[in-house]
């Protein structure tokens, strides 16, 4: 399929995309909602009129070929793009009904509620103990008993407690890749966020570590809302409740994961997930 045909298809589908969103919107459990979100990196229009919702206590996956804007979109959800020079955002991203790009909202505070896990595990060069409690401490928590409860709960929630409980004072850099990624998840959980953003969290891990993280994501949705960007479509199909397919900065199709992977409504989605392009 050439670029012209693809671009035409992208234009044709915007109406049906809005209809899909209206259907999913039913119910009052929306935690994040983007309205006409546009983003530019200087002259590069990276996100084009994105309208999308994220439901509470669900896993939402964002898929699409490289450079389609999926990482940019997920980073918009906690204002991580703010630090990029030349980046301009228009439209709104509402978290619990409030625009996070509003004038009186601090990005720091947003990131307390909306945590993020990156592609490559990035533990701080300090002990496991200090990694986990770094967040609570900068949020001025001093109560030692409380801190230890947070430490244990976060590590247990990230299914890491049994593996590290006897070496909490050891450097986090001595952990395996999979353990380091779970440590980063535990570190995010320690500040008790409501939403966890994951940008390809398993792409640098082996299959066993990947399976553990996937299992963990499934457990996490009982308490948290998870948004995950992934290149691995089977992973999106396995772990998510909703899937968004992006292409050339536009949201092409958004719907229940089962429907997207079994019977996508848009030809572009179908061609991408069946490996005919991308």
């Amino acid at each position: 399929m050439n670029l012209k045909v693809k671009t035409k298809l992208v234009k044709e589908i915007s109406e049906s995309q809005n209809a899909d969103i209206e259907k999913i919107k039913a119910g009052n459990d929306i935690i994040i909602e983007c309205k006409n979100l546009n983003l530019w990196y200087d002259d590069n229009h990276a996100l084009k009129d994105i309208n999308m919702i994220v439901k509470k206590n669900k896993v939402t996956a964002i898929i699409g070929p490289s450079g389609c804007g999926k990482s940019t979109l997920i980073r918009s959800f906690n204002r991580m793009n703010d630090v990029i020079e030349g980046c301009k955002t228009e439209g709104t991203v509402e978290f619990r009904g409030r625009n996070i790009y509003g004038n009186r909202i601090s990005a720091m505070k947003i990131r307390k509620y909306i945590g993020m896990i990156f592609q490559k595990p990035n533990p701080f060069p300090m002990s496991i103990y200090d990694n986990i409690l770094y967040g609570p401490k900068i949020h001025r928590m001093r109560d030692k008993k409380k801190l230890e409860t947070i430490l244990k709960n976060s590590l247990e929630m990230a299914v890491l407690w049994d593996e590290v409980k006897d070496r909490l004072k050891d450097s986090a850099l001595g952990l395996s890749g999979g353990q380091q990624q779970r440590l980063c998840i535990a570190r995010t959980l320690a500040i008790e966020p409501e939403v966890i953003l994951m940008d390809e969290p398993t792409s640098s891990l082996d299959p066993i570590a990947t399976a553990k993280i996937e299992e963990l994501i499934n457990d996490l949705k009982e308490k948290y809302t998870v948004i995950i960007v992934t290149h691995n479509m089977q992973q999106a199909a396995r772990i998510s409740d909703y899937t968004a397919f992006m292409y050339l900065g536009e949201l092409i199709e958004f719907g229940e994961t089962e429907q997207i992977f079994e019977n996508p409504q848009e030809r572009l989605t179908e061609n991408y997930i069946t490996g005919r392009f991308g």
């Binding site: 479509m233 089977q234 179908e270």
Partner: protein, 217 residues
């Protein structure tokens, strides 16, 4: 292996399913011809073809499962493979009914030929066309062919009961007819089931093309 190899292999599998469909139809057709002509040699050939049919079933299933395991196909690719896996079961059953009818032919050699009178051939023409259309819909992904399937299947059901009534009256006329008529009733039942299998193929083809499930009852 790349995705394009998956697509190539799906095309090969599709061709094998079409070939299996041809074999199933041939087994049924030959069994009806041998029934009408009491051609024992042809009946034996139908019986012999059951091995080939079994091979088609086993090989296609194995390759489809392997593709699912290796590529985790999605959307149309997944639906096509799911349809293929179900379809070979229906095609296998169709061919086996041919074998069952051929087995009856062997039992009837010394008996008076009654089948032509009993509208079996007429019923077969309807069943055959339904099977052909279901396989063609699979081949071309053209689901408009499925529109009148329910109606046509109902006609086939009625033919079955008509043959049943006709057979009962022959049996009442002369008890010597009981054995052959009992067999004819069985054959009508097999053909009626063949019509049902063609409808099931139609349902799966509809799923393959649209992703939606329908019931042709």
């Amino acid at each position: 292996m790349s995705k394009s190899e998956l697509h190539r292999e799906i095309i090969n599998l599709k061709q094998d399913v079409l070939d299996m469909g041809k074999l199933s139809l041939k087994m049924l057709e030959d069994s009806i011809i041998s029934l009408n002509t009491r051609d024992l040699e042809l009946a034996n050939e139908v019986n012999h073809n059951k091995h080939k049919l079994r091979e088609f079933d086993a090989h296609i299933e194995e390759r489809a499962l392997k593709l699912i395991a290796l590529y985790q196909p999605m959307a149309i690719d997944l639906r096509r493979l799911a349809t293929i896996l179900k379809m070979i079961t229906y095609l296998y059953r169709l061919g086996r009914y041919g074998k069952d009818i051929a087995a009856i032919v062997k039992l009837l050699t010394d008996k008076t030929p009654l089948s032509e009178m009993l509208s079996i051939t007429h019923m077969w023409e309807h069943v055959k066309s339904l099977i052909e259309d279901s396989i063609e819909a699979f081949d071309t992904s053209e689901i408009t062919k499925l529109k009148d399937f329910e109606e046509r299947d109902n006609e086939i059901d009625q033919m079955r009961w008509s043959i049943f009534r006709e057979s009962v009256s022959y049996m009442m006329e002369d008890p010597a007819n009981i054995t052959i008529c009992a067999h004819i009733i069985m054959i009508a039942r097999y053909l009626e089931r063949c019509g049902d299998h063609a409808c099931k193929i139609g349902e799966k083809v509809h799923y393959m093309v649209t992703g939606g499930h329908i019931e042709i009852s």
